[in-house]
Amino acid sequence: MVSAATTLLTARNLQTGYRSGAKKIVVAGGLPELLLQSGQLICLLGPNGSGKSTLLRTLGGLQPPLDGEIHLGGTDRWTPATLARKISLVLTDRVRGNNLTVDSLVALGRYPWSGWLGGLNATDMACIEWAIRVTGIGSLRDRKIHTLSDGQNQKVMLARALAQDTPILMLDEPTAHLDLPSRILLMRLLHQLARETRKAILLSTHELDLALQVADEVWLLQSGGQLRSGAPEDLVLNGSFEYAFGGEEVVFDKGSGNFLIYTPQDKPVRITGEGLTLFWTRRALRRAGFEPVADAGLHIRIAERDGQPIWLVEHQGQTREYGSIQKLLQALA
């Protein structure tokens, strides 16, 4: 077991939102106590408009809370400069061309530590090198920012945040715009960083399945500002996900940890079989509007012949045989 986690950030009675003149526009009101602990990767999940970004920006010090207090390292009185040595951010803000090279952008991460005129010492250089190495962007060093792909850009922004060398790292939807492999790689990198550097990493994301895999803790923000936190598995089992995301149109499948695109329909079917073939057959039938049940007039049996799966449809005493899921679906349609 890793060494005991220390609490880096505590937020109490937090109310997030915006001020417009004298008017307060509350985004999230009844937030419970929020803790960021070292070595933890926390995923902030929630439907669109639930206030994930606002919460992240509030915790990150970019906007003041409407109410409540945020304790950082034992104090809730921090200046932007001290905050910058505690929390680094990766935002959705797109950094445009500006003639910036990857190298100098990452070096900007040393801003809170470098001298008045921005001179860099050996420690600074070492931090920059490390950040570039762990994010694997060494080959991009001399590239201009505006020539990077989205995935590369995200890595560079992460490197900049790592160069800032803060115990807390917050990322606002870092996986947006990335393709699936890049998303997985990024999540794995963050997971490793949390383990190895003992940083507390908070990220907001829509990648439910990835979050369930890597998060030590999930903060589930609902539209309306309620937040449930806990280990991802607990939240699945106690129905929090369904509660947060669920509606008449969207269904969370506890069995797979996924949302179902197609709402189940009233066509019961009994499926027997095993392994992967069973799993994918069920998916296909769901898509086609069937609901797998324990007993039904329609029975699909998965068998094997010459090492290849075959599908046997038993209905009203007749049995037909199909060689692929596609043919099966065509027959059932």
Partner: protein, 347 residues
């Protein structure tokens, strides 16, 4: 972040170019003075023709120094504005500071109504070119104060930009009203002022301008770290510990000092402030303000000296207004640079 050898070579090359441009500006004029005479003026003043001595030392030298100060100040001011607002079209006049100076000048030059004011000021013992400069400084200072007060209340640099442009247009509208009610003669004087001139700054005025511009440049250079951080946008800058309001205040102060004083002493000089930062980024291929600020000084100065040389119109006894030349010479330069740029985003 640090200057590479290549960049040092380029900076040195620019410095040499600047010296050449300075000498070229000194040696050209509507009066023909041979190089021999010129050398005599500097190295053997006792044997030099006093007329040439006057022309070189009292006319050309102050003009060249003014070009150096204005070239540095305007281009660095433009760089700061372009970075602060992350807008390639920003220039030192964008906050309305220049318009403020114009308003001050209009107040003393235009409309019969200001005769009384003028008389009062004359009674106070301020007259001549100092009067115009004083009025321009007051106008620029008033607008700067207004911009600063508003900037404390605004969170966002984009809002700041809009407010600045609005203040500028209000100020210019006031000037237009003043023009409308003025004599053609007065309007002509005012128009002449708006053409800009490097030739009217001498003696005590030059020292005064130099002090203010140097202060503005020092503030700009000291804020190079802030400017770098602002390249990432306000949110990132704030996340790195930069107080957006503080940075804005420092940068606006520096730019106002530069643009306000130069406009007050030389009249509005356009183009340099907007174009030179682009040229500097193109030549040095960097975003680091530690390099861009000195680069802008060198390029801006060289460009303004060359423009002043061109303004002499060889063979003619007339000098074209500098504000016209900067645009005529400079705009094609920027277009050429943009066309030559291989990557898609110059900015």
């Amino acid at each position: 972040m640090t200057a590479s050898p290549l960049k040092k070579v380029r900076l040195t090359g620019l410095l040499l170019l600047l010296l050449l441009a300075f000498l070229l500006d000194l040696s050209t004029g509507t009066v023909n003075i041979s190089l021999k005479e010129m050398l005599r003026v500097f190295f053997s003043p006792s044997t030099a023709d006093p007329t040439w001595q006057f022309i070189v030392k009292e006319i050309r030298l102050p003009k060249a120094f003014t070009a150096v100060l204005a070239g540095c100040g305007l281009s660095v001011g433009g760089l700061q504005m372009q970075t602060l607002f992350r807008n390639p079209l920003a220039d030192p006049s964008i906050l309305g500071i220049t318009a403020g100076a114009s308003l001050g000048v209009a107040a003393v030059m235009l409309a019969g109504g200001s005769m009384a004011t003028l008389y009062a000021i004359k009674e106070l013992g301020v007259s001549g070119s100092w009067l115009i400069i004083g009025a321009a400084c007051l106008g620029a200072g008033a607008v700067m104060l207004l911009v600063l007060i508003l900037s404390r209340r605004l969170r966002d640099n984009v809002m700041m930009l809009i407010v600045g442009i609005m203040i500028g247009s209000i100020t210019l509208a006031l000037v237009s009203i003043w023009q409308y009610f003025s004599n053609p003669e007065q309007v002509k004087d005012y128009l002449l002022w708006t053409f800009g001139s490097l030739g009217g700054v001498t003696g005590g005025q030059l020292s005064m301008l130099a002090i203010v511009v140097v202060i503005g440049l020092i503030v700009a250079f000291l804020s190079n770290k802030m400017l770098d951080a602002l390249l990432l946008g306000e949110n990132y800058a704030r996340s790195m510990g930069l107080s957006a309001r503080k940075a804005r205040t420092v940068i606006i102060c520096s730019t106002s000092l530069l643009a306000g004083s130069i406009t007050a002493f030389c009249g509005p000089i356009g183009f340099i402030g907007i174009a030179v930062p682009h040229i500097a980024r193109f030549l040095f291929n960097t975003a680091s303000h530690r390099i861009l600020i000195p680069a802008c000084c060198l390029i801006g100065t060289t460009l303004l000296l060359l423009c002043d040389t061109f303004a002499q119109l060889p063979g003619s006894q007339t000098v074209l207004p500098i504000n016209i030349i900067t645009s005529i010479v400079g705009s094609p330069l920027v277009i050429v640079l943009l066309l030559r740029q291989t990557t898609a985003h110059p900015w």
